[in-house]
Amino acid sequence: MTALLEVKDLTVRFGDHVVVDEVSFTVERGGRLGVIGESGSGKTLTALSIIGLVPDSALVSGSVQFDGQQLLGRRDGDLSQLRGEQIAMVFQNPQTALNPLMRVGKQVAEPLRRHHGLSKVAAADAAVALCERVGLPDPSRSVRAYPHQLSGGQRQRVGIAMALACRPALLIADEPTTALDVTVQAGVLRLLAELVAEEDTALLFITHDIALVPLVADDVLVMRRGSIVEAGAAEAVIEAPSHPYTIELLAAARKTALPPDDHVKVLS
């Protein structure tokens, strides 16, 4: 059986400027891959080029096989059949990824109406069920709320509900917790991990925070300046990083997150 997603020599350039340089990786069915890298390392563009949402000025080459079909070079109309149905995406900033003028329930049900042709009434019921699954309080009332009436964590749960509405085979999560408080991150991550496990959805988890990777991913890619510098099982890479950049990232993660016990000891 072939892998769900097979990316080969993916290159994205703007004019002469190469932003993603011959990136190759695979995601198995139900597999969970973390992609780590600093801002500007090409993580997001890699994800966007999988579903063909790169800006018009970008030149994309290489190969993206999804479920045995080549996605690069496909017409936008064909790709939009896949988007939201087979491949869905959760975005970084839940403040801006939801339409401020549309009630939450309508937005959650939008992919279902588009892909499964649900009626308004059926979609409204589905929205309540989805909001319940992602743990929104009082789902039947939450669906009637506007995004600005929800907290950041709740909005991201809405984003996840929307992405998982059609039970996609692959979920791309682009820094889904970066814009959230540290205290809220854990809840959202746990939810994400739970849901993809239950639905057997493959996950492509993009982050700049290496500490989050073992929570949601089995394998990991480390990207820097558009290229992959290290790849392997998440635990192994974190236990024994081989590339100096990975070591640097790990050191940075440890420095910023001192275990609370140590603070207490020093202060007392």
Partner: protein
């Protein structure tokens, strides 16, 4: 009628609604009861009286009747111009922003060229070429202010298209037209409403100006025409122009203020909570989100060199 209540929440919305109501009632009344035929000649320069509420003009025509019947013209021009401008503006603005570069850019230049034609001058030319009918004037005002609206909307739509929720909509497979309908149009609606109501006010003024100049068909009385006829005598009989002018000002101001109020009412972010759904869901403190304790961070016992300086 929840939008009326929402509009009435702001000061400008309230005044706008009242002025609009007066304006509409004037028009309705003109179809039910008009004291005299507005063209009937009688005794000249009568003051305000029970027989002639607003007095009579130089030809002895009843001013109150002229104001009543003239309101129809203003309403027609306002609504027709606003509709035409809205359709032209939204269509051109949205198309020029979403279509691929070539078509969008050339449309934008076309819009810029059209903007160069001043509304009133274009209207004068069209009225001269065709006849001074209300349809001609509405078309002239509607199209020329529609292209101005298109330019404003082009920038506005481009701004909306750059937002993340548009990308999110694309990522969930929403088609371009559905995206426009569901996400773009609602988000530019407040601007369209304000602009269109400004255009309606402008249309009333423009029609009044053309009638004042006497280039419009004289088949039906309008406020501008009435004011134009009173103008030569304004130093001798200043009182006569007060009421027709007041109505013109009130209608114009009413559209402007109503636009302001509607804009505030259409944006749910500006609405206070507790409307409709019975209050908003609690924002925080409901979800069991707890602090991150990642295995990575917990694993190695960290040295306390940093913590020493940490207060």
């Amino acid at each position: 009628m929840s939008w009326v209540r929402a509009t009435a929440r702001s000061w400008s919305g309230r005044v706008g609604l009242v002025l609009m109501a007066v304006f509409l009632m004037t028009v309705v009344m003109s179809y039910i009861w008009v004291p005299y035929d507005p063209r009937r000649v009688g005794e000249r320069w009568l003051g305000m009286s029970v027989d002639h509420w607003f007095g009579t003009d130089a030809a002895g025509k009843d001013l109150f009747s002229q104001v009543l019947v003239g309101a129809r013209v203003s309403l027609f021009v306002a609504v027709a111009s606003a509709l035409i401008a809205g359709v032209v503006g939204v269509t051109l603005g949205v198309i020029s922003a979403i279509t691929p570069r070539v078509l969008g850019e050339s449309l934008a230049y076309f819009i810029d060229v059209l903007i160069a034609l001043p509304t009133l001058v274009l209207a004068l030319v069209l009225v001269g070429l065709f006849k001074g009918s209300l349809v001609t004037v509405s078309l002239a005002i509607g199209v020329s202010s529609g292209v101005v609206l298109a330019r404003i909307l082009r920038a506005e739509v481009a701004g909306v298209l750059a937002r993340d929720y548009i990308l999110a909509a694309h990522a969930s497979g929403t088609s371009t037209w559905r995206t426009v309908r569901r996400h773009v149009l609602p988000n530019i609606a407040p601007i369209v409403i304000v602009q269109v109501s400004l255009i309606a006010a402008l249309a009333i003024l423009a029609e009044a100006a053309l009638s004042f100049l006497g280039v419009m068909s004289r088949s039906r009385p309008s406020w501008g025409q009435t004011l134009g006829e009173l103008q030569p005598h304004v130093t001798l009989h200043p009182g006569a122009i007060v009421f027709p002018a007041l109505f013109l000002v009130a209608a114009t101001l009413g559209f402007n203020l109503l636009g302001d109020g509607l804009r505030d009412a259409t944006d749910p972010r500006l609405r206070s909570g507790g409307r409709g759904a019975g209050g908003q869901p609690t924002a925080t403190g409901v979800l069991p989100d707890t602090a991150v304790v990642s295995p990575l961070v917990a694993a190695p016992p960290t040295t306390t060199t940093i913590a020493g300086t940490d207060r």
